[in-house]
């Protein structure tokens, strides 16, 4: 059971603790700065925070023994003179870190190993707690990368990294827009694994191409790792065969559009989503903020609204801003309009922690 969560926002990092039954903001860090993502590494106890300073670039900070320190951020290699490297829309890809969109630990036996997904589509790995980073060249150099496209961002974004709990050399990543990619040898070779996904917003000749899909977030069941869930730009998809194939979960009330998905740590059939009107408007349906939950692998969904604002709510929940704790009982999400909500009963009831936070990018439970 986790009594602590961290919320990354446009104006700082907020640590929220449960004390005497109430969730309260207990600490603030980087107040005024744009914190876009955090990671807590249970192997080392270190915390990581991504700061996107805009003018001054994207920086990475690490907290050991209570003190934050800036560490190296992933950097792209020198672009060879005259090289043409364009994305699927024909736009020049910058060889420069635009943002960090995913940060995950390696396997439990890989002490110090951190994976990092970026815009403009580079995947990086550190083997020393973020001291130094290497670009995963086999993925970056794969010519199919140049078919990837920006989705909600100017250039392709690696936003999801799932290290297989059965074998840490098996890693799957989600890319907007480049589908799902998998390595089975620790990053030396890669293949696209998005068969079955489709994008209704693309011309029919392109819509079923696995390599242009826009999964907004990819999550993997820790206890049944062949089960993966994707909240896709075009709806909800599920894989039961370790990403080899995907099937759409259709007709989810009130909408199957959204950004976030969380899977129960012990029940692979149970997953949560935060729906919105697709896809240009991006506001809750009828101004009612709800969470949807399936307990039967997507056959049916509960629409959970107890404790959530049910009139004139215009909150959007970004892809990293919905979290479930290790028990599967506690959930939290934070919104673009500064709301932070917590449930202690799998989403049946929600309580507001704050509705005056800065716009939120990400939420994580921390032990």
């Amino acid at each position: 059971m986790s009594d602590r969560l961290v919320v990354s926002t446009r104006k700082g990092l907020f640590t929220v603790k449960r004390e005497d039954g109430d969730w309260r903001i207990a600490a603030t860090d980087f107040l005024g700065d744009n914190v876009t993502l955090t990671l807590h590494d249970p192997r080392s106890g270190y915390h990581y925070a991504v700061l996107n300073h805009g003018h001054f670039g994207v920086k990475l900070h690490r907290r050991t023994s209570g003190v934050w320190q800036e560490i190296a951020a992933p950097a792209f290699p020198k672009k060879p003179e005259g090289l043409i490297d364009r994305d699927g829309w024909g736009k020049d890809i910058p060889y420069s870190l635009i943002n960090i969109f995913a940060l995950e630990t390696g396997g439990p036996e890989e002490d110090g190993l951190i994976w990092c997904g970026t815009i403009p589509g580079g995947l990086f790995r550190s083997r020393d707690h973020g001291g130094a980073w290497e670009l995963i060249r086999p993925l970056w150099d794969d010519p199919k990368r140049q078919q990837w496209m920006g989705g909600g961002t100017d250039w392709p974004a690696i936003h999801s990294i799932c290290v297989d709990p059965r074998d840490s050399a098996v890693v799957r990543i989600g890319i907007s827009c480049g589908g799902v990619w998998e390595t089975r040898d620790g990053g030396n070779s890669w293949g696209c694994r998005a068969d079955g996904m489709f994008a209704a917003f693309l011309p029919p000749e392109m819509g079923r191409d696995p390599n242009v899909q826009d999964p907004h977030l990819l999550v993997q069941s820790p206890t049944a790792p062949d089960r993966l869930w994707v909240q896709h730009h075009n709806g909800i998809f599920r894989s039961d065969d370790g990403s080899a194939s995907w099937g759409e979960i259709a007709d989810v009330p009130p909408s199957s559009f959204g950004f976030a998905v969380a899977v129960h740590p012990a029940e692979p059939d149970t997953a949560w989503f935060v729906p919105a009107i697709k896809d240009e408007r991006r506001i809750p349906v009828d101004g009612k903020l709800v969470v949807t939950r399936t307990r039967d692998a997507g056959a049916t969904f509960d629409v959970l609204r107890e404790g959530l604002p049910q009139e004139h709510a215009y909150d959007v929940v970004y892809r990293h801003a919905l979290a479930v704790d290790q028990t599967g009982d506690r959930l939290a999400f934070a919104t673009t309009t500064g709301g932070l909500y917590v449930s202690e009963d799998q989403g049946d009831h929600w309580r507001v922690v704050s509705h005056t936070l800065p716009p939120a990018h990400a939420v994580r439970f921390v032990l």
């Binding site: 300073h53 805009g54 001054f56 670039g57 920086k59």
Partner: protein
């Protein structure tokens, strides 16, 4: 010696007091500063060592012309200001 002055907003993140350096171009002057302050480099230049998209440099009252190569010439008494461009919000 040319003088290099960094925006005060940058000093919130990295210690970067005004510096007196030698060099024939803006690149050389900035590199002279970065040699003793490596962390500052990534706040001003991108991964390709070009000026960050929303940064600006003013040399003797004139905005920098060559933001990739930073090859604008400077003289011994030049004043170089490293600022945030308004384009970045």
């Amino acid at each position: 010696m040319a003088s290099v002055v960094f925006t005060g907003n940058l000093r919130r993140h990295v210690d970067c007091p005004p510096a007196q350096v030698q060099g024939a171009t803006v690149r050389e002057a900035l590199e002279a500063v970065f040699r003793s302050n490596e962390r500052l480099r990534g706040y001003v230049l991108d991964d390709q060592s070009a000026l960050r998209r929303h940064m600006a440099v003013v040399v003797d009252g004139r905005p920098l012309r060559y933001c990739v190569h930073l090859s604008d010439p400077i003289s011994a008494g030049s004043a170089i200001y490293v600022l945030q461009a308004l384009s970045g919000g």
